[in-house]
């Protein structure tokens, strides 16, 4: 990580007796793209608004580039922000919206006009400068909001669920556009979302939050593959939870519905006969046997759903079921409901949930 640029230290926020953010500590590098990911109501917006200066933290500090900004008002912080509801000024044209911050900063007219043109080009809306917000689609409005936030060259960019009001196609393309603009400008960015795919796909690092606490901070690869808490494991991606009993703690074997499997990551301090939960990602399980020391479990196909590039199967063992993905191929029709299959997965892919903090 590059040198720390934005620093959130010991931030706590309570509304009366309700603690909505607790012990939030995060250092963000210059030019880094960090996402806050968590379910609705977990405190993402609150932290973002504290960084912006709209809310005062009950305790803790915010500093940007070595300067403590905790006591600065939002209009003194030089931060750009994009809101879920676009929040364009309805009475101003696109160009005037983008130029608003420049005018406030007292930039000369000609220079401001040049900067506005530059921003319009950046968001590929050169021809739309004279339109009013209501004449634009949602995606276009949000791009204007992005340009408006970036025009005054803020030191930090904050985005609060900027894509959730848009339809699926636009959401994906604008998401990529935001990321490429962010990289091009090298601006330090916090992106708030409740959508794990969004967070995983565009971030340098993801902060997973639950009930006002940080659950885990890490690169998307790390968050997805090595969840540190039960919450992260279940919130990020689809997770199959299998309940069984420890068979042999030394060898790492667990009996699931009477079939033994191996978890290579170790079972922690357990003894034979203890109840134990393990988890498996749908994409870790296969029907094709590649040999080696893999786990094999016999089960019955209970459901088949065709999702396009992948086919998702539900397989029942006895008490436990798992969802698993197989790639679609026109040459290999998917298995039929009721068919008996062998599910194969690697010991490394078995996540031992009891070893994770039960957060």
């Amino acid at each position: 990580m590059a040198e720390t640029f934005l620093s959130i230290r010991g931030v706590q926020k309570s509304y009366g007796p309700n603690v909505v953010v607790q012990d939030f500590n995060l250092d963000i590098g210059r030019g880094e793209f960090v996402s806050f990911l968590g379910p609705s109501g977990c405190g993402k917006t609150t932290v973002l608004r504290i960084v912006a200066g709209f809310e005062e933290p009950t305790s803790g500090t915010i500093s940007i580039g070595d300067r403590d900004v905790t006591n600065l008002r939002p209009n003194q912080r030089n931060i750009g922000m994009v809101f879920q509801a676009y929040a364009l000024f309805p009475n101003l044209t696109v160009a005037q919206n983008i130029g608003f911050g420049l005018k406030v900063a007292g930039m000369a007219k000609a220079e401001a006009a040049r900067r506005v043109a530059e921003m319009l080009e950046l968001i590929k809306l050169q021809k739309f400068g004279d339109r009013y917000p209501y004449q634009l689609s949602g995606g276009q409005q949000q791009r204007v909001a992005l340009a408006r936030a970036l025009a005054p060259k803020p030191r930090v960019l904050l985005l609060d669920e900027p894509l959730s009001a848009l339809d699926a196609k636009v959401r994906v393309s604008l998401r990529d556009e935001i990321r490429s603009i962010q990289k091009e400008l090298g601006i330090t960015t916090i992106f708030v979302t409740h959508d794990q795919e969004e967070a995983l796909s565009i971030s340098d690092r993801v902060v997973v939050m639950s009930q006002g606490r940080m659950e885990q901070v890490g690169a998307p690869f790390e968050i997805y593959n090595f969840p540190k808490t039960r919450f992260v494991a279940s919130f990020v991606g689809t997770l199959n939870v299998l309940n069984g009993k420890v068979a042999d703690p030394a060898k790492g074997t667990i009996a699931i519905d009477g079939q033994d499997i191996v978890a290579s990551r170790g079972l922690g301090a357990t003894k034979a006969g203890d109840s134990m939960s393990v988890a498996l990602r749908p994409e870790s399980a296969m029907l094709v046997d590649l040999g080696g020391g893999r786990n094999r479990m016999r089960g019955t196909i209970e459901d088949v759903s065709f999702l396009g590039s992948v086919v998702r199967l539900r397989v029942r063992f006895t008490d436990n079921t798992i969802l698993m993905d197989t790639f679609n191929s026109p040459n290999f029709p998917p298995p039929a409901r009721g068919q008996t299959v062998t599910v194969i997965f690697a010991p490394e892919d078995v996540l031992v949930l009891d070893g994770l903090e039960a957060a």
Partner: protein
């Protein structure tokens, strides 16, 4: 279906007659100043009267100041209530309704007692002071309409998000109110302004008791002393009021389309 249609028309006809007949009768009467033929003599007489011009001009001026005072008072208040104290909105709404419940005569007697020439705030000791008091009184009378109009205008925009968007771009309060909030509720403010105008132009009680040379007392005076001119004046006053209403209607077509809500 057919009969309900018929009844609707009958109801409409009765209602229309109820409003229109007196108006038509008044208009017809106002044209009969010259014996035997219809003429606009009464209108000529009224419009040529220097007192008409003086009092009308005075009332227009008072209306303008009342509107300015109302806007200065109501826009920031309604904005702040919506932004920071939404819990108090019902309370403020109730307060703004009080002028509808408390008769103007009570308010003005209160003023005379409070601001008489021997009081610590002797508004009534000078002509300008009395004018100012009249403006303040009218702003009070217009408060229910002005507040409601502005508050309705504010309801059509996302006040909080727009404010925050402006703040994070570096704007201070004055700029936010003048550049962001006011332009987006301008139509609402204007309709409040024209309602205020319509109220002020015809108001009698306050102007009369504060002894100001306003249009209302002039109307009353003419009404008591002449035959045809009062009808002409009534028609003129009616035309002014309706003119204001139509302007409100026309302006509301131009209300900026609110695009700050997600679709």
């Amino acid at each position: 279906m057919k009969t309900s249609r018929l009844w609707a028309w009958i109801t409409f006809g009765v209602g229309a007659a109820y409003f229109l007949l007196p108006l038509i009768a008044t208009f017809e009467f106002s044209l009969r100043m010259r014996r035997g033929v219809y003429s606009f003599d009464a209108y000529r007489s009224v419009l040529g009267d220097p007192y008409f011009q003086a009092t009308f001009f005075y009332s227009v001026l008072v209306a303008v100041f009342t509107i300015l005072l109302g806007v200065l008072l109501v826009v920031p208040t309604a904005y702040w209530i919506r932004l920071r104290m939404p819990r108090f909105r019902p309370v403020v709404e109730f307060i703004t309704l009080l002028p509808l419940v408390i008769p103007a005569i009570v308010i003005v007697f209160g003023y005379i007692r409070m601001f008489g020439s021997s009081s610590p705030l002797p508004f009534l000791a000078s002509t300008r002071g009395a004018d100012a008091l009249l403006v303040i009184g009218y702003a009070t009378l217009a408060l229910p309409y002005m507040y409601r109009a502005v508050d309705t205008g504010l309801a059509t925009i996302d006040v909080r998000t727009l404010t925050e968007a402006a703040q994070i771009l570096g704007a201070g309060w004055t700029r936010i109110v003048i550049r962001v909030i006011l332009p987006n509720v301008l139509i609402a403010v204007l309709s409040g302004a024209f309602l205020t105008f319509a109220i002020v132009i015809g108001e009698f009680t306050m102007a009369s008791l504060l002894n100001r040379p306003a249009f209302g007392p002039y109307l009353q005076n003419i009404g008591a002393n002449r035959a045809y001119e009062p009808s002409a004046l009534a028609i003129i006053a009616f035309a002014i009021t309706w003119g204001c209403m139509s302007i409100i209607q026309i302006l509301s077509r131009f209300a900026p389309k609110s695009a700050n809500q997600p679709r």
